[in-house]
C-alpha cells in the first residue's frame, strides 16, 4: 500500500502515472495508492477519467475519516483501485480546525492482494499491455468501479458504527422539503449551508446537496427540484463539470455557476445571491463583468 500526499502542481507533474496505476494495480503488482490531495479542484477533476476513485472532503474531520475509509475501500478485493481523497487547497488544507482522532486498530483488514509478487511462484509482469489484453484491463477497472459503490456503502456503515460519524455518497442539508437545491463539492457546499439558513429566513425553501464521492458518481434523484450548481472547475469549450454531470445523470436543467476558481473568495452571502438570481439553464461566471 502506498500513500501519497500531494498538492495541485506536483499532482499535475505526475499526470502520466495516474492513468497507468489503476491498470497495473487492478491485476498485477502491489501498487495500491491513496492520494490525499490538497488542490485546486480543477486539478483533480482533470484526473476524473483515470480510473481512480475520487472523494471530496468538506472538513478536516471528514478528510481524516475518509482517508481511513479509503484504505479499506481501495484494498477490498472487489475494488483494488486507487482512491484520491481531495481537500480544497488552502481553504481546507490550511484552515486549522478541531479534529477527533480515532483508534483505527483493526478497521483496515490485513492486505491481501490476489496477484501479489510471490517469489515461490515467479511470473513476468509486463510493463506494457498490447491491444489484445488492454481492453480487458480497462473493462476490469470499470467492473471494479461499479462494485465500489457497494463497498463504499459497507465501509461507511462500518465506520459509522465505530466512530458515530457518517457521510455517504452525498450529504444533504435541509434538503427534505427544499424547492431549490444548491449542489456543490467540498468547502463550498459547507459554506452553502449558511447561505441556505439565511434563504430559509427569507422564505425560500432551499437546501444543500453535497456531492462527496465524484467517482464513482452517485445516483441522484432530484425529484424535479430546481438546482443551482456551483463548479469550482471548468471544461473549456464545454461547461462546468458538475453541471454537466447533473444534466446527464439527473436530467436536471441547472443554473450553472462557475465560482471559486483558484481560491476566488466566495462567501455564503454570494451563494445566497446565486440562489436568489438563479436562471435555470443558464451559466454564470461569478465576478466576471463585461470589462473583465
Amino acid at each position: 500500500m502506498a500513500m501519497t500526499r500531494t498538492s495541485a502542481s506536483s499532482h499535475r507533474y505526475s499526470v502520466v502515472m495516474p492513468y497507468r496505476r489503476p491498470n497495473r494495480a487492478a491485476k498485477s503488482v502491489s501498487v495500491r495508492a491513496i492520494t490525499s490531495l490538497a488542490s485546486r479542484i480543477e486539478c483533480s477533476i482533470s484526473q476524473r477519467d483515470t480510473g481512480w476513485l475520487q472523494v471530496y472532503a468538506a472538513t478536516a474531520q471528514e478528510a481524516y475519516d475518509t482517508t481511513l475509509m479509503a484504505f479499506r475501500i481501495a484494498e477490498d478485493e472487489r475494488v483494488l483501485l486507487p482512491v484520491m481523497v481531495n481537500m480544497d487547497g488552502f481553504l481546507l488544507s490550511h484552515t486549522m480546525q478541531d479534529l477527533e482522532t480515532l483508534d483505527a486498530g483493526g478497521f483496515i483488514p490485513p492486505l491481501h492482494l490476489p496477484h501479489a509478487i510471490d517469489t515461490a511462484h515467479p511470473a513476468a509482469y509486463a510493463p506494457l499491455t498490447g491491444p489484445k489484453d488492454y481492453y480487458r484491463f480497462r473493462w476490469d477497472m470499470e467492473r471494479s468501479m461499479r462494485a465500489a459503490r457497494e463497498v463504499i456503502a459497507a465501509t461507511e456503515h462500518a465506520f459509522a458504527a465505530r466512530s458515530g460519524r457518517s457521510y455517504g455518497m452525498t450529504t444533504e442539508y435541509r434538503g427534505e422539503d427544499a424547492d431549490v437545491l444548491v449542489i456543490a463539492m467540498g468547502t463550498l457546499a459547507k459554506e452553502a449551508e449558511v447561505a441556505v439558513d439565511r434563504l430559509r429566513e427569507e422564505g425560500t425553501r432551499a437546501g444543500v446537496l453535497r456531492i462527496r464521492w465524484f467517482r464513482p458518481f452517485p445516483a441522484l434523484d432530484l425529484a424535479g427540484r430546481e438546482v443551482v450548481v456551483i463548479d469550482r472547475d471548468y471544461s473549456f469549450g464545454f461547461g462546468g463539470v458538475l453541471a454537466h454531470s447533473l444534466r446527464s445523470v439527473a436530467r436536471a436543467d441547472p443554473y450553472s455557476v462557475i465560482a471559486g476558481l483558484g481560491g476566488q473568495e466566495v462567501t455564503h452571502g454570494d451563494i445566497a445571491s446565486f440562489v436568489r438570481d438563479r436562471k435555470p439553464g443558464e451559466e454564470h461566471w461569478f465576478g466576471v463583468t463585461p470589462d473583465v
Partner: protein
Amino acid sequence: MYEIRIHSRGGQGGVTAARLIATAAFRDGKHATATPFYGAERRGAPIIAFARIDEEPIRIYSQVQNPDLVVVLDRTLVRVVKVLAGLKPHGAVIVNSSHAVTLEHQRVHHVDLTGIALAEDLVIAGEPVLDTPVLGAIARLGVISLGSATRAISEMFPDPRNVSAAERAYRELVL
C-alpha cells in the same frame, strides 16, 4: 460566532497568533478555526489572518468580513491598510503600541507587545516575538481564558518566556 482579524507584517507571527487563538478556544471547550489569507509570502508585507470561535461547529471558510475584534501587531500598518474595515459597531481593537492610539476618532486598546518581548528577551532572528504575548491581551478581553491561552502557548512553544510575556500583556493591556 466571535470573529477575529489579525493584521501583521510577514514574519511577525500573525498567522501563528491565529492558530494559538483557535487552540486556546478549543481548550476552552469551543469550536474554533484559524485561517491565514495566503498570497505570496513576503517578509515585511501586510498579512491578514483570521480566527473564528463558536459554540457550534464552524461552517464558514470565507474571509471574516465583520470582525468582533481586530488585532494590529504592527502599528505602522494603520497608515497603509484599512484595519477597521467591516468592524462590528461594538467591536474591539488591540494595537501593539507603547502609547495611546486613536483610529478614526476612536480610542482603541493598546499594549506594548514589542517592549514586552524585548524585556523578556523574546527575540528570534533579531525580531521581537509578538504572536505569543498578544494571546494575553486577547485573553484580557475575555475572548479566550488566560489558562487556555498559556496552555496553547506552552504546547506550541515550550520556552517559558512566551508564557511570561503573555501574562504580562494580559496585565498591561490598556483598556
